[in-house]
Amino acid sequence: MMMRTIVSALFVGACAVAVVLALVPLAFVLFFVVSQGVQSLNADFFLHNPRPVGEAGGGMANAIVGTLMLTGLAAAMAVPIGILSGVYLSEFRGTRFSSAVRFAADTLNGVPSIVIGVFAYAAVVLPLGHFSTLAGGFALGVMMIPIIARTTEELLLLVPHALREGALALGATRARAVFTVIVPAALPGIITGVVLALARIAGETAPLLFTSFNNAFFSTSLTQPISSITVQVFTYAISPYEDWHRQAWAGALVLVTIVLICSMAARLAAARVARIRGQL
């Protein structure tokens, strides 16, 4: 009897230790990113383009604009496809085609981002003949579609059946019921999902390495290579220069801040949605 209680207590203790073991690296990473990043982050970082080695100062203005353009392009591609496929998945459940699409979405979600980069290279870079913002946006968009589709599907399924029945009873067509009643009811959640997907996409490096590549200069061209915060951090991190390492930490701090703000906003929004639901 004694032995069994001891084993049980040890097990409980081991589980608590596991939690600590996972949170230690998180604390470590956040600590270094914040403490190193804060030292190098200043207004120049947001206002200036990179300077050559040896010249002090400089920033990532071009990379920040690049990341915004790349994620914007990705969203323009993925939001319509993702949301409408999500609507299809929730409206026409149980058909063979919708199972296949759901399976494809989960599969695409598991495809390594570097492989998506290779695909975007073959699909966009090779036909165009050079690296471009379009290719990078395409790669990120492909990654974003399944996330949005599955989130939309899950959220639409949560909408109470009575709303749909009410709309149909009033003589609405199915399309009208979906787009004026059901989707709006789930919209706060869907927007949260899109924001989270954007945060994840903004932190991606691998699919950009050989699609949007990098650019030392300020560019807003869709058909030219463009810089991004992540690729710039990578370039700086593996360089041998102290100055560039500092810039890399500053870039990392910006990335982590974006992720933190998005996840907190999403969590607050989700809590609010749950509260409103509780009142209904």
Partner: protein, 287 residues
């Protein structure tokens, strides 16, 4: 069905079909663009380990070895931790702690790979180097150990999130029955985990799939040296890392095609692992 409803179904069906098409297109285009290398080297590509693109030698064994070895090591480290967290959050912790702990583990998954890589280069690698000096190994810092450690950190949140969902599907009666028979906490949880074993294996495999395709952080700390070695301290290479490092340098069609073939095989492996793990989780959820 009303004709407007049919139009609606077809209209949004086109977008759903686009999703399906993308997955097919990835497979087809990778297979198509690697045909040169597939025809030239056949299976020898994966059996030889000389990688010297300048001399036209393409042996990809070190890459697939590095990918599998680092992922298996990461899994060995991450699985107990991830399952411990899942059990702690879903079975043990006070409900007040639950939401913050879930948030923190999700944050672990949300931190970009490149940030882990940066941290790896400047914090983890020097720490590993110190450890290597202590035990008398060559003090490189970069290598399999650093790669596996950073992979483990990145895989933990995925495995634990799925394992938590799986544990949630275990009926309360399972635990109540165990407690009613006089089981300790450990024995009751063991019973619940045994009940959920298929789903838990699925969760572990899903983590494995993540580890196989992880690119930036591993590229930055594993050493990028194509060799097949069991040594934990040897610098090695992975499939994802060679793509990240060499893709823009591929100067001729054969080199490019060889790299795309590595991408194709990485795609197929992760596809297989994902399908299998989803199948396991799905069959668990159904029963």
């Amino acid at each position: 069905m009303r004709s407007t409803d049919l139009g609606f179904r077809v209209g949004i069906g086109v977008f759903a079909a686009a999703l399906l098409l993308i997955v097919v297109a990835i497979g087809v285009s990778l297979a198509n663009d690697s045909s040169l290398s597939l025809q030239r080297f056949g299976l020898n590509f994966w059996r030889t380990s000389d990688w010297n693109p300048v001399a036209g030698e393409f042996g990809a064994l070190p890459f697939i070895w590095g990918t599998l070895y680092s992922s298996v090591l990461a899994l060995l480290i991450a699985t107990p931790v991830a399952l411990g967290i899942a059990v702690f959050i879903s079975e043990l912790c006070p409900s007040m702690l639950r939401a913050p702990l879930i948030f923190l583990t999700e944050l672990l998954a949300a931190i970009p790979s490149i940030v882990y890589g940066l941290w790896g280069i400047f914090v983890l690698v020097p720490a590993v180097r110190k450890f290597e000096l202590m035990i008398g190994a060559a003090p490189l810092g970069v290598g399999m150990l650093a790669g596996a450690l950073i992979l483990a950190v990145m895989v933990v949140p995925f495995t634990s999130a799925v394992a938590r969902e799986v544990l949630k599907t275990v009926p309360m009666t399972q635990r109540e029955a165990a407690y009613a028979l006089g089981a300790t906490r450990f024995e009751a949880i063991r019973a619940a985990m045994f009940y959920a074993r298929t789903g838990i294996i699925g969760a572990v495999m899903l983590g494995f799939g993540r580890a196989l395709g992880e690119t930036m952080a591993v590229t930055m700390v594993i050493g990028n040296n194509p060799q097949v070695s069991l040594s934990l301290f040897a610098p090695q290479y992975t499939m994802a890392a060679v793509l990240a490092n060499e893709f823009t340098e591929a100067a001729n069609a054969l080199y490019l095609s060889a790299l795309i073939e590595i991408g194709l095989v990485l795609f197929i492996i992760t596809l297989a692992v994902n399908v299998l793990s989803r199948g396991l989780i799905w069959s668990m959820a159904r029963s």
